[in-house]
């Protein structure tokens, strides 16, 4: 199976593999502490962040939290995509902004800054095709309140060559399924429009969905919805486990006392199912899951709630909680060897289910981490 991306059950890009590629040259050009960090690193990660001077960037860091390289962003970023074949990464703007910065994670050098098409803005997530030829980004056709996947031709200098309707609005995270051909899309269902900032415009009528589309034709393959009483449960973040179940994490826009389940999984046979988390555990998520990640072997799922200040690890087969950690404002998650790496908005880089020291960075980490 070709490498796909961090939220899939794929091996991490180990330092020695990185060195075998263009990384060797890169390592030789690093200086001082950054070279040291790189030399010691078993794996590298990338995350958008806010820097001490208030500016925004996307940092590449080792598992011990030491920063290896960093690219400046014109405004606040969200998630990152990476193509291991060309060693190009892309930091996407947080909605409703319109930039995506293509950069070299080895040096932090900007390769190109993309601007979303007329009448569109980025929603903050994206990924590459397995052969590295195409990049896909979640986008908003905001006048029509229509979710899209924008398609970019990497070889043609990231020219935008088309767009796929996602058959829902507020298309948030999208991933490529392990077949390399099917895109799974989380349509959050919340209408926003840049004229109204980040105001939510349709809470009474929102219709979140999880959609499968063909990555070459854009054809709709399946559309799944939760039962009608859960129409305010916004499906936003995704990860795929070893059994190819698509796990989805939600944020609830209805009355806080409702306390619906926030984590579920989708299979082709059964559609969407929510897991049954006991009330005491559920309460700690504060009706909000901010990111979802699968472990490297795909047997465990991690979820985070920056609002509740909690990160949890679940067994993907038994669908039950294994462990739970309080992490204030914790949101970013990525597989890290046998465990998970988590980051917080207060700059913490911490290891879950793995013995390693925490590190406090002088960065405020954004909601997502990509394992390079």
């Amino acid at each position: 199976m070709p490498p796909i991306r961090n939220r899939l059950a794929t091996p991490l890009l180990a330092r020695r593999d990185f060195l075998a590629g263009a990384g060797a040259l890169f390592a030789s050009t690093l200086i001082g502490r950054r070279a040291e960090a790189f030399e010691d690193a078993d794996a590298l990660f990338a995350s958008a962040c806010r820097r001490p001077d208030g500016s925004y960037g996307c940092a590449v860091f080792a598992e011990d939290g030491r920063i290896v390289s960093e690219v400046a962003l014109p405004d606040r970023g969200h998630d990152v995509a990476f193509d291991p074949l060309s060693y190009r990464a892309v930091a996407f703007a947080r909605r409703p902004r319109t930039f995506a910065v293509v950069f070299d994670p080895k040096t932090g050098e900007t390769v190109k800054t993309l601007t979303s098409a007329e009448g569109r803005h980025f929603f903050g997530h994206g990924f590459f095709s397995p052969d590295g030829r195409l990049m896909y980004a979640t986008e908003n056709d905001y006048d029509a309140a229509r979710g899209l996947i924008g398609v970019y031709d990497v070889k043609r200098d990231f020219a935008r060559i088309g767009e796929f309707d996602t058959h829902g609005m507020d298309t948030h995270e999208a991933l490529l399924m392990p077949d390399g051909e099917t895109i799974v899309v989380a349509n959050g269902g919340i209408e926003t429009h840049p004229d109204y900032g980040r105001q939510k415009l349709n809470l009474a009528t929102m219709e979140p969905s999880l959609v499968l589309i063909d990555r070459k034709s854009g054809d709709l393959l399946a559309k799944h919805r939760l039962e009608k009483s859960l129409h305010q449960l916004s499906i936003r973040h995704l990860a795929i486990d070893a059994d190819r179940k698509v796990w989805f994490g939600c944020q609830y826009e209805g009355p806080s006392a409702d306390a619906p389940q926030l984590l579920g999984f989708a299979t082709p046979e059964a559609g969407l199912s929510l897991i049954e988390m006991p009330r005491g555990d559920l309460a700690r998520l504060s009706n909000y899951v901010g990111s979802v990640a699968a472990s490297a072997d795909g047997t465990r799922i991690a979820i985070s709630s920056p609002v509740g200040g909690e990160v949890m690890i679940l067994d993907a087969t038994k669908k039950s909680l294994i462990e739970s950690h309080p992490v204030r404002d914790g949101c970013g998650l990525a597989a890290d060897g046998a465990g998970f790496l988590a980051t917080s908005g207060h700059g913490l880089v911490t290891h879950l289910a793995k013995q390693a020291a925490d590190r406090q960075a002088d960065r405020e980490w954004d909601n997502h981490i990509l394992a390079l």
């Binding site: 109204y196 980040r198 009474a204 009355p255 806080s256 005491g280 504060s286 920056p306 909601n367």
Partner: protein, 377 residues
């Protein structure tokens, strides 16, 4: 106060605002403020102050205004004439103001059963209200919009204040002066009665010592929103932080545009009934009442208690003075050369107030939202 030289006053106000913004910065030379050491009990006292001193009275006033408007529309339907229509239209203004004063409380019973959107569906970017209300008025064979019970099952866009506004003020509303407007009047009555039912449910929810009041004032580990006193205090403080952001992003900016040429007067809430300014003023009055009821000074660290409540009150006064000096209707003001700057100034004051709550009050209370959880994604 009659204002003959607005530009001089505004320059003075802007200078005072700038001074005020500089003042706390000077007081915080040593970095971020040390958060309050107030006890959970003291913080929950502030929460209780807001519930009992502002939220409950605010919703009661809204319920009263809804009931009065239902009575006025009832009288209009029974004896339609010009005077009764005028009375019903005035009652609408009172009702819109009463809701504006409490609308930024966006937790508790107002979030159940889509009550908020059923009272006020706004912004309505695609003009759904106009389209759906006109469809109801055009089909007098279908009486399902004429009883509050069946109306409550329909689209939120045809149930609330903006629907009632079109019925009372929109094209064809003059027919309400005659028996020829029976169908339209019955629909208006159903909307008002439906709003009364929703308001009753909300006031009952807040009046009940169990439910939201208990959840906020007795935080518990099993609660999804209020597990400690800080959670409740944060919810209360969000009324200002989110409310002022809504004023900026929903009520002012879309209508203001970049300049008078770019302005979009129809983007004002209640532009049709010329109640936009009254509702905007009531937004600020309501927020001020909630702020005064809270008595934040009791739990702020001494360094902030000595100036921040006064600084916030000063900005609320600025907003009040400016709004009082703006002639209605806002739809004219926004495209006028001489008065538009006053609205620009309201936008500046809104931003200053928002910043005082989000960047000064909340951190001093130890409530700073983290980077990741702030305005979530």
């Amino acid at each position: 106060m009659t204002m003959t030289k607005p530009s001089i006053l505004f320059t003075a106000l802007a200078a005072m605002t700038a001074m005020l913004m500089a003042w706390p910065a000077g007081a915080q030379e040593d970095g971020p403020p040390t958060p309050t050491t107030a006890s959970a009990g003291e913080k929950l006292d502030v929460v209780w102050n807001v519930i009992d001193g502002a939220i409950r009275p605010g919703y009661s006033a809204f319920e009263d205004a809804a009931r009065e408007e239902a009575t006025k529309i009832g009288a209009l339907c029974e004896m339609p004439d010009e005077v009764q229509l005028q009375t019903a239209r005035e009652g609408f203004g009172q009702l819109a103001k009463a809701f504006a004063a409490i609308e930024f409380v966006r937790f508790g019973p107002i979030t159940e059963d889509h009550r908020l959107e059923r009272i006020l569906f706004f912004p309505d970017r695609r003009g759904v209200t106009l389209r759906q209300v006109q469809a109801i008025l055009a089909n007098t064979e279908d009486d399902s919009a004429l009883s509050p019970a069946t109306l409550a099952q329909k689209s939120v866009a045809v149930q609330g204040l903006t629907a009632l506004e079109f019925v009372l003020f929109g094209s064809g509303s003059q027919t309400l002066e005659t028996k020829g407007g029976d169908f339209r009047c019955s629909y208006a009555k159903a909307i008002a009665d439906n709003i009364v039912s929703i308001a009753e449910a909300v006031t009952a929810g807040w009046g009940n010592e169990e439910g939201i009041t208990s959840r906020l004032t007795n935080p518990s580990q099993s609660d999804t929103a209020y597990r400690k006193a800080d959670d409740s205090l944060k919810e209360i403080t969000s009324i200002f932080i989110d409310g002022l952001e809504m004023i900026r992003d929903q009520r002012l900016k879309p209508a203001l545009g970049e300049d008078a040429q770019d302005a979009n007067p129809k983007a004002f809430l209640y532009h049709r009934s010329e109640n936009a300014l009254a509702a905007l003023s009531a937004n600020f009055t309501g927020l001020r009442q909630i702020f005064d009821a809270a008595q934040y000074g009791e739990i702020l660290p001494e360094a902030q208690a000595s100036y921040l409540p006064d600084a916030i009150s000063f900005e609320f006064d600025n907003a009040r003075r400016t709004l009082d000096a703006i002639p209605a209707p806002l739809a004219d003001v926004v495209v006028s050369k001489e008065n538009r700057d006053k609205l620009d100034y309201v936008l500046i004051v809104t931003g200053s107030l928002q910043s005082e709550f989000a960047n000064q009050l909340a951190p001093a209370l130890g409530l700073s939202a983290g980077f990741s959880s702030l305005d979530g994604d």
